[in-house]
Amino acid sequence: MRGAARAVLALLALTLPFWVGNPYYLHVAIMAGIFGVLALSLNLLLGYTGQLSLGHAAFFGIGAYTSALLTLRLDWPVWPAMLAGVAVAALAGWLIGRLALKLRGAYFVLVTISFAGVVSLVSVNWMELTNGPLGLPGVPAPALGPWSLRGKDAYYYLVLAAVALAYVVCARLVRSRIGRAFLALRENEPLAESVGVDVTHYLVLAAVVSAALAGGGGALYAHYTRFVSPEVFLFTYTVTMVIMVVAGGKGTLAGPLVGAVLFTALPEALRLATSWQWQMLAYGVLLVLLVFFLPRGIVPAVVVRAEAVRRARRAAE
């Protein structure tokens, strides 16, 4: 049953451009994919190690700017530039991890926010490098040999591949010995430490992988919209990632993806009905309601319900 559902989902995702004619819907699907990578990235920290980063837009923006600047200023080809975006974001993640992960809870949150604030101010003020608030237009689209991935169909498959890759990285990581260490740290740090889990090592590792994924999301975004400005550092991006992870179900693999699809499609659907302000207002209210009524998120709630149904059916037989 679960295998069949998965196969159907995969088939739907793989054939999407063939039955979605409207390029606008395809755009929504691409953005959902990019946010899927970002949500998976945040979930690694928030869901598996229990550390909330509210500076994740910084890693996203660093990936976007690195890749855009390397292609525009140094004429790098797109693929190595994107990889460099991932690498620089990972480096930033390592730095923040080394510095800030001796702090916990609210203090870690504040350092990550401040880090994002500083990076954002640099992107606005370092005119020579970043062109300031005007941003960097004309970021090239990637190409695969002779085929340009400029069209939405082609880019959709690139994003889909990236989501799959990010998912596999997260799945392999959390199901390994490392993932068990993450969970041990989340559940009871002193206990984990007492049985020999190297706290700093594992938390920094989580921060590096998480930042690298967010940087990858940023690079994908830069070469899709083909324009980068300080707006990539907007706090809204971080909040969106948090809502996706919390709503979908933190600490699950499918949760962030469900959250990403839902919270990319929902605002787009709402956009037709209401203005941007109402949308954001609804976001805020929704976050409050989620904490009250679905504190563990959609995916765990569905799993629990499915288990209950299965058990009831077995009892009836």
Binding site: I113, L121, V288
Partner: protein, 290 residues
């Protein structure tokens, strides 16, 4: 030299309101252990409430200030009773997420009601600056500094000298014992949150006429309040007051002598450096650590 003095005076005025924001947040974050990201929204609300009272109700400037502060207190109390009281047993992360939700909802609510265009708040003070030797200062800014100073002093008296203040300190040191001594815990929680929010609203209503009121003004204010709290040490009232003044002066000096574009980076850098090197605040005595 004259330039330096001028920067110091400007920094003092700015720092006075940062101190108000910081004292409000040090009660909520330091004592109540709530990561209140909506703190800046109470600051915004104060500015808009003053604007609405002046433009909508036709109230005078001083009644409008009082109304704004009262508005902050009422909304703060409402927020505590409806959202935070049911979650008191939950972890700090849960309440933080709720407060992020409140922050987004309030900010966009303000945007819906008052629109995105910045509003200027009229005030009755003459615009010609007072010139004192090498420095000049607008009379409005003198007023802001005086009111901020008075509110800071009043908060200190309230927390240190009154029964309510003692009950607050007792509640957040040891809730169960305080309850056994007859302190009404629920009321104290509500009163503390309302008081902290009222101080934020006061800061907004005071700075609103100096600058402008716009929906996102609270974002930076919240982060600055956090840097003040961290600078002063959690729950440390005189620390927050001093931290506010220090931040205001550091920002003015940074903007004046380094680069005005990086003015707001001062607060961020302070948060990062203090948390990394002196996590218990600049003014903590050794025995307060941990």
């Amino acid at each position: 030299m004259a330039e330096l003095l001028q920067h110091l005076v400007n920094g003092l005025v700015l720092g006075g309101t940062y101190a108000l924001l910081g004292i409000g947040l040090t009660l909520i974050f330091g004592l109540m252990n709530l990561v209140n990201f909506a703190h800046g929204e109470f600051y915004t609300l104060g500015a808009y409430a003053a604007f609405a009272a002046l433009a909508g109700l036709g109230a005078g400037f001083f009644p409008a200030l009082a109304l704004a502060i009262a508005g902050g207190a009422v909304l703060g109390a409402l927020c505590e009773v409806t959202l935070l009281r049911p979650l008191r047993a939950e972890s700090i992360d849960t309440t933080m997420l709720v407060m992020i939700g409140v922050w987004i909802a309030m900010q966009n609510g303000e945007l819906l009601v008052w629109g995105g265009v910045a509003k200027s708040i009229p005030h009755p003070f003459p615009t010609a600056p007072l010139v004192l030797g090498p420095v000049s200062i607008a009379p409005l800014r003198v007023f802001v500094l005086l009111v901020a100073g008075a509110l800071i002093a009043a908060s200190w008296v309230l927390i240190q000298k009154t029964t309510l203040g003692r009950a607050m300190r007792a509640t957040f040191q040891d809730r169960d014992t305080a309850a056994l001594m007859g302190v009404r815990i629920d009321r104290i929680h509500t009163a503390t949150f309302a008081f902290g929010s009222a101080l934020a609203a006061a800061a907004g209503a005071l700075l609103g006429p100096v600058f402008l009121a716009y929906p996102s003004m609270g974002d930076l204010a919240a982060l600055k309040a956090f840097s003040v709290v961290i600078l002063g040490g959690l729950g440390n009232l005189p620390g927050a007051a001093l931290g506010g003044l220090l931040l205001g002066i550091a920002e003015e000096l940074g903007a004046g002598y380094v680069s005005s574009g990086y003015r707001d980076a001062v607060g961020f850098v302070i948060i990062i450096l203090v948390l990394l090197f002196r996590p218990s605040g600049l003014f903590a005595r050794a025995e307060r650590v941990g």
